[in-house]
Amino acid sequence: MFFFSGGLLPLGLANMLSSTKSVSGTPSSNKRRHRPSRPSTVAHSHLFLTRALSNRRLRTKRKIPGLLVGDPKQNGVRASSSGLAQDKAEPRELRSLVGTEWQLSYVTPLFRFCYTQLKSYARQLAAFVASETAAVAAADLAVNFSVVRGLAGTDWDAEAVFIQISAGGDKSAWSGWLACVNGYPDYLRSLPPDFVCLPLLAGRGLEPLGVAVRSWLSRTFDCSAAPLEMSHAVLQWLMALWVDAWDGRRRQQRQPSRELVAIWTLPAEPPLRVRMSVDSRDAGELWSSVRDPEALREGSPEGEIGWEEVSRFTKGLGGHFYRHFKVDLSAGNLARVATEAGAATREGRLKIHDMGSLNATLSLLTECALLKMPM
């Protein structure tokens, strides 16, 4: 639930918010052709702030970062124009994001979260976890909060916070991070100053500890946290973003080896799972063929991909499938998408293999979390 102290907003602020138009990049994005992420009948409440999010849909155009240069494991992170500012990046923490599987949740804005009180929060969380769960013995418990710069995309994004719970020395029992990457600027501007918006929470480790952390966050900062499910549209976006990252790498003559795997579930009795595994080069060529011609100009370092292109890509795969099996994949939903650059499931499990697509992936997921928040 979205609470703030002191009742309704001041009238001036409410008026400003009620006249806020939704963000649109290009005229084509005004045509909302894809499915809405939440019904627009929801949330006509007395809180004027809700209007800023409840009418939104996923952005229909996304900027894609530049390509990764060099192998992050060997040469350190050098991402050209990837949105990760070189001087602010802390490679070690950011590298820890890559290569592990995270369970995603969304978190509503945190009330009175102070970056200066991280040590106190660590102590409180340690005490809470020790009392709530028997998973880790209290004496071994060590909790650490740290700020990691480099993930915040715009000036309105709050800096990311890393949480580490270790048991018995260096052994990590649970680790997670809260981040906001390229969130909706007008929504973030509209939040009262007491609120910090870090909508994306990712965690891995012992499940009881994850539950305890979410519970502590909701008690301490008057927010709510719940698992983030990735819808059919979000998984299609991720598939397109990751295949696009390949396609660029292929043009740089670095051959990716892992094929594109997409798994649909169809509502038959018993449920049918269809796994389609496409050769990486063929997937890249299909992606290039569905791009709008002006976007494929050579020499443009940062392009945009649009929802129409993503939709054409998925329809292309579905059409090839239909030609052979006469089964319509649009009767079902995507359950899992895995590529060279990353893997994601409908239940909110995410694994990123490639630093270059980190920014684009996290921007999409931040948006997804913002839209999932109950308002």
């Binding site: 009795e269 018993p270 799972r273 299909l286 052979h324 099996f325 006469k326």
Partner: protein, 342 residues
């Protein structure tokens, strides 16, 4: 004795208690007055059986009998692969159980040292073979035996738990014993032995009724008003009929997956770039479900799959296969190939 203890303990751990009770009774080697408490823990049960084995002098051979009884009565475990014998010699039909047994044991023991073979003929004419493989340095490994089932007079051989390095020896012994020239992969595999056997031998209720029970007649009438007309009743009936024709009616054998390796060209009128490509669009499609044929039939009858059902899907029950390689033929149509997967 140590080997017997190990083997027996492992077997007790693996077999559920109720099934173990039935299997021990069938085995018949327990002393008649012995009353074993099957409610105790598995470890205690194993201890009791090991004590009995020492008293009664049970050997590894006796324990393998017990294991074989268990596997024959509960064959729906592990992964079964089907192979097909090809090109029979003129006297292949005359091979009986005794001759097969002699020839098989002879040839296999010539090829591989230190192994143990146990053969049993079941009441349904199936020959069950248990092979514990060994080599020059060690005796037969009873912990990881291969099981082979062959129905004489049919060309099919069902195998589970066979390593790829053991394959050539088994195949050689089989073709020598059955008097066939060669053996190939039948491209069929599954977890349930009885179901894949039924699928292959066409023993399930693959009845194609001339008239399918109408969906209207089967379902309880929720709307009884005479002025209400079900618009889609006829199309539903058509779909259901075609689904039954493709897959059969009644209970279907349980397959878990079907794999299609597609190497066909990408054809899409809205995407000229990809359609003009000469090389094939390579992808592998896997259908998976707890009961694949049931799911596919439901897809066809509910409209998720367009009817008439495409031959690629109806080949699964018709040809008894679940691995296919699809390529473009000279005429530009998709063809199904018989290929050997690894």
């Amino acid at each position: 004795m140590d080997q017997v203890e190990c083997f027996l303990r492992r077997l007790v751990r693996r077999i559920p208690t109720e099934v173990l009770k039935v299997t021990l009774e069938k085995w018949g080697r327990l002393p008649r007055q012995q009353n074993i408490d099957f409610k105790q823990t598995k470890w205690a049960l194993a201890d009791e059986l090991i004590a009995l084995s020492k008293e009664n002098g049970w050997t590894v051979r006796h324990i393998t009998e017990l294991e074989m009884l268990y596997v024959i009565d509960n064959p729906n475990q592990g992964m079964w692969h089907v192979f097909q014998l090809v090109d029979p010699e003129p006297d292949a039909q005359a091979v009986g159980f005794i001759r097969f047994k002699e020839q098989f044991k002879l040839h296999l023991t010539e090829l591989v040292r230190h192994m143990s073979i146990k053969m049993k003929k079941n009441t349904d004419e199936a020959i069950w073979i248990r092979i514990a493989w060994g080599d020059s340095y060690s005796g037969p490994n009873n912990m990881l035996p291969t099981y082979v089932v062959h129905y004489l007079q049919t060309p099919y051989v069902f195998v589970t738990r066979l390593k790829s390095k053991q394959k050539p020896f088994l195949f050689q012994a089989l073709i020598m014993a059955t008097r066939y020239k060669t053996i190939k992969d039948a491209s069929l595999s599954g977890r349930k032995f009885t179901d894949i056997r039924d699928l292959l031998m066409q023993q399930y209720g693959q009845v194609f009724p001339a008239r399918c029970p109408s969906p209207l007649e089967d379902r309880p009438q929720t709307v009884s008003h005479p002025h209400v007309y079900r618009e889609h009743a006829k199309t539903e009936l058509n779909r259901q009929q075609m689904a039954y024709e493709a897959f059969g009616s009644g209970k279907l054998p349980q397959l878990q997956s079907a794999v299609y390796k597609l190497e066909t060209k990408f054809k899409d009128p809205t995407n000229q770039t990809m359609t003009k490509r000469e090389k094939p669009f390579k992808c592998v499609v896997t259908f998976a479900s707890t009961n694949l044929l049931e799911s596919l039939r439901h897809c066809a009858s509910s409209g998720i799959a367009s009817t008439p059902v495409t031959p690629l899907l109806s080949f699964i029950p018709r040809k008894g296969r679940n691995y296919f390689v699809i390529t473009d033929s000279a005429q530009g149509q998709s063809t199904v190939n018989n290929t050997l997967p690894n």
